[in-house]
């Protein structure tokens, strides 16, 4: 059987973006963990999250965080699976599932983040 790459792991540009997004995520995720696990008192509840997400700065920050993290993670998962799965139809299927998952989760995440407004 001749091996034909119907879907590829990506090119140099994606490899570069994985590094750039990685540096961004290292900083933002570090702060995210500190904020949600170290700086808060008691258990995390609705009021804690709603109050933070309502401000425009946090909303912008969280949407960037969401999109970049999902891209970094889903693309990373594809790079890993690409190395081990060589059955054509399965490659196309997994590639499709990852792409659809990306669209659904970005949409769901943005809908969550824009549902909060200052004072309400």
């Amino acid at each position: 059987m001749v091996y034909r790459a119907t879907v590829r792991s990506g090119g140099a540009l994606l490899w570069f973006f994985q590094r750039v997004s990685g540096i961004f995520l290292a900083v933002v995720l570090f702060l995210h963990v500190i904020m949600t696990h170290v700086l808060i008192r008691g258990d995390l509840d609705f009021a804690d999250v709603a109050g933070r997400v309502a401000t425009p700065l946090w909303k912008t920050m969280d949407i960037s965080f969401l999109v970049i993290a999902l891209f970094h993670g889903l693309y990373g998962a594809w790079v890993v699976l690409d190395d081990y799965i060589h059955v054509q139809w399965l490659r196309v299927l997994i590639y499709g599932v990852i792409a659809i998952l990306g669209v659904i989760l970005v949409t769901l995440g943005i809908l969550t983040l824009i549902s909060f407004n200052p004072g309400g």
Binding site: R19, L25, V49, V53, G73, L74, L108, F116
Partner: protein, 124 residues
């Protein structure tokens, strides 16, 4: 000399395998995380209900593991990026050592803060 060479290859491969496994674990978590946080759309009751479910000891235990997975992937990822840029290429074993130390320190510190917030540490 042969032994050291063999060991060096082993260490890098080990770090690489762990990077892939931790990455797969993290994207699996992130998918669930986005879904859990989307309960905010359903209002206070819906969100607090799922947070209460996730507040059980099993999930708290898993959360400590999550923090460890995040910090491994974070510090090893920075190490990979430095090597890709072309700095410290000749000192990558030292660089891995530094990444491991930072990983363990942050995991321990954040883990201790979480346990203390949950009332699990009598001395904090």
């Amino acid at each position: 000399m042969r032994v050291i060479k063999h060991y060096r290859i082993h260490l890098g491969t080990f770090a690489w395998i762990l990077h892939r496994l931790s990455g797969l674990g993290l994207i699996f978590y992130l998918c669930l995380h986005v879904w859990v946080i989307s309960h905010l759309i359903g209002g206070e009751e819906s969100f607090n209900e799922i947070m209460e479910f996730l507040g059980t000891p099993l999930f708290k235990f898993l959360e400590i593991g999550l923090v460890g997975t995040i910090f491994y992937h974070l510090f090893n990822g920075l190490r990979i990026t430095l090597i890709d840029i072309g700095v410290f290429v000749e000192k990558q074993k030292l660089l891995f050592g530094i990444a491991v130390v930072l990983w363990l320190i942050t995991w321990f510190a954040v883990g201790a803060a979480m346990l203390s917030r949950w009332g699990g540490l009598p001395f904090m």
